[in-house]
Amino acid sequence: MMALTMNTGTLSTARDRRARLTRDAIGVLVILAVAVLGYLLFPNNLALLTRITAIALLVLSLDLVTGYCGVATLGHAALFGAGAYGAGIAAAHFGITDPIAMLAVGVVAGALAGLVSGAVVLRAHGLPQLVLSIAIIHLAHEAANKASGWTGGSDGLAGIMPDAVFGLWQFDLWGRTAYVFGIVLLIAAFVVLRQIVRSPFGMLCRGIKQDPLRVRAMGASVHGTLIRMYAISGAVAGAGGALNAISTQVVGLDSLSFTLSAEALVMLVLGGTGSLYGALIGTLSFLWFEDVVSAANPFHWLTIVGALLIAVVLFAPKGLYGSLAALIERRGRKGR
């Protein structure tokens, strides 16, 4: 399906547009169906499902820069953490407890963090780029740890008491409101991002991933485009961070950790880069797998993740979604 979208390019006829909208509608329905299924199957584990939703936003945002722009980063949790701390500090220190306002603060904080880290990371290429991203996440972690007056340091930022959503739905003990809030947020982000990645701007980003020199020769600004994508990515990650702060009512230093950044990358690649569905599938399968395995045997969790990574690189280099899509396409061609 990916290849189809690319082949038709920007020459979109009305029929193509309708076909894409239908596909988006199917995507939204699938997300909704999975969400309802999760709600019915695990009514006592909604906190985990909400966390998966928040991390899904982080992985989607990582997909924007890594999958669509080809920027390898191991420091993307900085954007997520900025959103989480932004929303948390707004609530705990400034009394902004309306969840929508907290979300807005998180999105803005994430976008700003995206601008800053984008400006730094895009300075170099290859290994130095990776190292810059690692340095950013460690620096952010140390800074948050030091500024304990604002962030609570290693104890975490507590005292976040979000109001009811629109004054109607109170955040309850079972996390039902938080779950619905998160799913609505995820679907909204998904719809917006679908539009962005297939817009001329999104196509330009893909072009930069394939051949930056040629894009520059065509007269487009490579750096400017990537910085803008980084800011958008930061906004999405910030929304995920804010969702995490609102639903758990606490922000810890782990939201700014290298581990979270690395795990987000693992989830993205597991699902398949360069596709929003891949990001979602990767997050869901990784976190579900983590929950099952770490409950069964916490000792071997890291070994299993490592083996899983090696297996994905060796046997499914396009990720779960990419391999599945390629398989279906091959079947379809044979059938014809």
Binding site: G126, L127, A135, I136, F299, L302, I310
Partner: protein, 287 residues
């Protein structure tokens, strides 16, 4: 004055440990263009082998070091044949994932086999006593580490600049396809340099065990430091790596002495500043 002197000695020793471990990473990265995040894992394996040999089997320190180097190379060969071989020439992201996967596996296995505690490598008595330099006394171990680093730097310089193999190695770094066309067996060059890199990592891991203690998360904790050294120095350059190690060792040690409450804040700030100014590393070449 005493503080300045001890900071200087510690910084030099720390920088030398970093150099011994990461120079192999720098050479293989310049040669094979593989972003190898598992390099620290090999240093850790060396440390574990030496600790087992010296502490549990009661062998002499020198024997333990030899065993660690040889043992780590023996472990690395099948890993290289089976896993690394598949990622040469692949995109960076693939290499990052594969090598992070290997690192996670090694950490998990080390945790299971040796337990989560710190492992010490008993050093001989002669390395434990302080040595008098006439005006100051210095820990003999620090001097030993500095001497090892200097020896490795000189040995590598001779190996790469003065031997026939070094010529082939430099040719392969500059242009692997052309070197192969001229009859250099690049496969052999790759294999030998990978083995040397892993052996040096193990050696550094053992010698530097007092500064970078051996424990299961070693591979992940210091991986970042080794990568930083390579990218700051510029992949494939020995003088660059040496300069980067001494500079970063000095910054890190000074920061720890004078402002311990800030942890690694200054280290990473310096890294960002250096990479910002020299995006290809201190001794990096334009592509």
């Amino acid at each position: 004055m005493q503080t300045v002197f001890s900071i200087g000695v510690d910084a030099l020793a720390y920088g030398m440990v970093l150099f011994v471990i990461s120079i192999g990473l720098s050479v293989t990265m310049g040669l094979m263009r593989v972003v190898n995040l598992a390099h620290g894992a090999f240093a850790m394996i060396g440390g574990y082998i030496a600790s087992y040999a010296a502490r549990d089997l009661g062998l002499a320190y020198a024997v333990a070091v030899m065993l660690a180097v040889v043992g780590t190379i023996l472990i690395a060969i099948p890993v290289e044949r089976l896993l690394y071989h598949r990622i040469y020439g692949q995109p960076e992201l693939t290499q990052v994932l594969m090598t992070i996967g290997i690192t996670f596996c090694v950490i998990g296995i080390a945790n299971y086999v040796f337990g989560p505690t710190l492992k010490t490598i008993p050093t001989p008595d002669s390395l434990r006593e302080p040595v008098s330099l006439g005006f100051r006394t210095v820990s003999a171990h620090r001097l030993f580490v500095i001497a090892c680093g200097t020896a490795v730097a000189l040995g590598l310089w001779y190996f790469i600049e003065r031997t026939a193999f070094g010529v082939k190695l430099r040719a392969s770094v500059d242009n692997a396809a052309m070197a192969a066309a001229l009859g250099v067996k690049t496969e052999v060059v790759y294999a030998v340099s990978f083995a040397v890199a892993v052996g040096l990592a193990a050696f550094g891991g053992v010698v530097g065990a007092e500064l970078l203690p051996i424990e299961p998360y070693y591979a992940l904790r210091y991986m970042v430091t080794f990568l930083v050294v390579v990218s700051v120095g510029g992949a494939g350059s020995i003088p660059g790596a040496l300069a980067a190690c001494l500079l970063l060792g000095a910054i890190d040690t000074t920061g720890r002495y004078l402002m311990p409450e800030f942890g690694e804040f200054f280290f990473y700030l310096a890294v960002i500043a250096i990479v910002w100014i020299f995006p290809r590393g201190l001794a990096g070449r334009a592509k």
